[in-house]
Every structure is written in structure tokens, then in C-alpha cells.
Amino acid sequence: MRSGWGIYTVNYRFASGILVQAEEARLINLLLVDRDVQVYQGLLTDLHNDPDIAAIQPCETAQEALERSLEGTFDAVLINAATLLEPQALSLTREVSRLHPGVRVLVFGLPSAKEQVLDYIEAGADAYLRGTQSVQAIGRCLRQMLRGEVSLCPDVAAGLLSRIAWLAGNRGTATTNNGTPAALSPRQREVLALLQRGLSNAQIAVQLSIEVGTVKNHVHNVLTKLQTGSRQEAAKLAVGALGNGDPVD
């Protein structure tokens, strides 16, 4: 989790009056990046009576947003992806979360396609809303994000899990070599260690007291996981894959 988040949560609670310590209270400052003036005015009205929101400032372009000194000034940036041009909204999301990890990013007006929502999450968005939403809905999503919570749509949640697994190398055939060692089960690591010593399937079966057929399955799975077609190559890769301790000895 990024640093900085806890601080905001704590201050938000102070401000909510859970702990009344006026001198520590720090209100939320927002930057809205949107070409639609009506959204700004609507949000201004909606958030006006919220004791935790100090101010909301509008700006119209991604360029303008990036020229501002965000860190320390703003706690969250709200981006309307519907009124910014597509690549701009996405790259603004990426830039803000890269340059200012302490600043939360809420993107609204997103297309409904799951893949596009996930692109924004990959770019560092902390909360999102699809389609055209009322300012009240944006306000609710914002408050939830500031509490450290996000309600993910079921399709986005599924996509999020599968992208994480895929990037970590445990789903599909894609692996980076650094994802490989963790992906092998302890039994597969044992088999791999024996392969590396040049043992045949029958010898491995004897060594591990299991059926030859089971060994064949393990070998097949190890080769698949290491993305290699031969035992010899797997044995070479084993040096890296078994890097943290040989489980056999």
C-alpha cells in the first residue's frame, strides 16, 4: 500500500469529529479536472455542506493539472474521463499516481468496458465510476475512497484478480522468470531438483516413493510452468527456480 494513505484517513477521522482535536484537523482539498462547468458547480453544491471538504478547485486540462504542485496542496484529484480526451485522462491518472503517490485519484465518466476500467486501475486510479453519474454519486464514491474503501463491480473485481495473477505469473502460460520459483509447488520443486541431478522418471519415482505415472504428471507440469520443452533445459533453469533452498536435501 502506498505511504501517505494512513495519514489522510486519520486526519479525515479527526475532521469527522471522532476525535476532536481542532489543531490536528486537516480538511480535504480537491482538484477537479473537467471541461464540464456544470459538474464543478454540482459538486461544489453537493460538497459545500460536507464539514470535511475544505475546497474544490477546477481546472480544464490535463496539462494544467500536471503543472500544479499537487503534493501537499491536494488530497485527491477528480478526473472526468468523459470530457478529457481518452489518452489524456489515462496518462493524467498515471502521471499523478507516479509523481504524487500521496494524492488519491478518482476517475469518473469511464466507458463501461471492463478492460478500460482495468487500464485506469493499472495506471493507478484509486476509485472509479463508469458512465454518466450524478454529482451525489461522485460525492459518495469520493467519501468512500477517502475512508480507504472501494466498491468494485463484480466484472471489474474478477478482471482485477485475474490480471494480478497473470502479471504475477500464476495464470495462463505467461510467466516472467521471477514469477516461476513461487509458482512451483513443493512437490514440483522436489521433482525439479531430481531432474537437475539427471535422474530418470523411474528413479525419481523410487526416490519419492510415488508412481511413475505421477512423476510423469509432475514433470509435465514443471516443464509447462518453466515454459520449456525438455528436461535438460528445465534442469538448467532449475538453478534459478530453486534458488531459495533445495527442498530435497
Binding site: 500500500m1 502506498r2 494513505w5 499516481s97 507516479r98 478492460e115 482495468l118 487500464d119 486501475i121 493499472e122 495506471a123 493507478g124 486510479a125 484509486d126 468512500q144 480507504g148 474503501e149 472501494v150 466498491s151 468494485l152 463484480p154 466484472d155 473485481a157 474478477a158 482485477l160 484478480l161 485475474s162 490480471r163 494480478i164 495473477a165 497473470w166 502479471l167 504475477a168 500464476n170 495464470r171 495462463g172 502460460t173 505467461a174 516472467t176 513461487a182 509458482a183 509447488s185 513443493p186 507440469n221 509447462t224 510452468k225 515454459q227
Partner: protein, 229 residues
Amino acid sequence: MDDHRDGAGQDQPKRLLLFEPTQLIGTLWQHLLVEEAGFDPVQLYTDPERALQEVGSYDVVVTGPSLTQDQALEFTRAAILSRPEVRVVVSGVPRSETAVVQVAEAGAAGLVLREQTAEQALKAIRAAGEGEAQIAPEVAPLLMDRLAELKVSVPDADTVGRRFLELTPREREVLELIGRGLTNQQIAERLVLELGTVKNHVHRVLEKLNKRSRLEAAGYLRSLPPGIA
């Protein structure tokens, strides 16, 4: 629950495998899943080796709450290795960043936190059966941050096969044959095309995928997430 559901357009009930080493907990879980989640059958296994042997014939796998984190992770990875399309829901996950992220990275299609109710657990398992997921709002930010981090560390990852989708149907065919190691001549014969045409296609494929060689293009094809190519 006994009605025979084979009407047109009616989805087949999904098959669920439950792995829980404590018999009592497993039996209780099994009853709940049969009654409330609409899976049929719900088969309980208390032995991991047996459970893994049977994974091949199930759509959804649920790991029980009495497993340790390491056991749950190991079982999840092993289940996915023997049946890549199976959807694993890990239950009893402690609400810590490490635990939640590990479960997601191991390939789980859903997770149920220790403090979540039976109702929420059933919702999460039903969602997994439908190819969706229910993630508790409190842990969603952990996973969103993790995805963003992973994306930064693997910047060239084409997570949705975007470049693949830019290929024309013919170019996809050519790529597939490149992936199988065919030469231009062999591809020409297979697709009944002029050699020159094949060379053009190959050139376009490499260009669109931003790859320098056929080998790299074949590697890209293998690296695509399941369900695209």
C-alpha cells in the same frame, strides 16, 4: 433442489469441489453450499492429494477456512496447474495486505475474509461460478494498488492482448503458424497463398506486435492471457 434442470437456455448447475481438512467444518460448509449456492454436486474432500486428483471435473473449487495461509496458497496453485480454467475461491483469508495479495497472485478467482459472514461467503462463491468476483470494499484498495505496482514492474505486459486484437484474422492465422514453428514456405502451402504474400503478412505481424523476430512473436503469442488467442 431435486428438480431436473435441463430446459433450453437454462445453465447447467456448476460443479463445486470443496477442500477442507476438518471433516466437521467441511460437512457444515457442504450443507450450506448445497442449500444456498445452487451448485450441484458439492463434493467434499478432506485429503489434498485426492482433491487435486479430482479437480479436473469441477468448475469451482473452494478451500475451507481451517487451512493455513500456506496450505491454501499451495492448493490454489496446484489446482490451477492441473486445471487452468478452474475458479478457486479461498475462504478464511486474514485481512492483511500480505495475505490478500498472496491469494490474488496465486491465481484465486475469489476470496472470503475471516470476518465475513456466511452470506457474504456464499455471494463470493456464487459470483465465482459466474465468472465474476465479490471483493470486500476494505481490501479492494490493496488489490488495486498491487495491480498498479505489478504493472509498473512489468511495463511491457500486454495484459489484454491489445496488440493481438489489432491483427486481422489472416494475420492471426499467420501468427499462430509462426507460433507452431512453420517456415514461410510451409505457411504459404498451409494457407494456399503466394510466398510473397506470406512474407508481407509476416512483416506486418512483426511490425504490429513490435517484435524483431519470429521467435519473439511466437513468445508473445504464448505470453497472452488465456481466452484471447
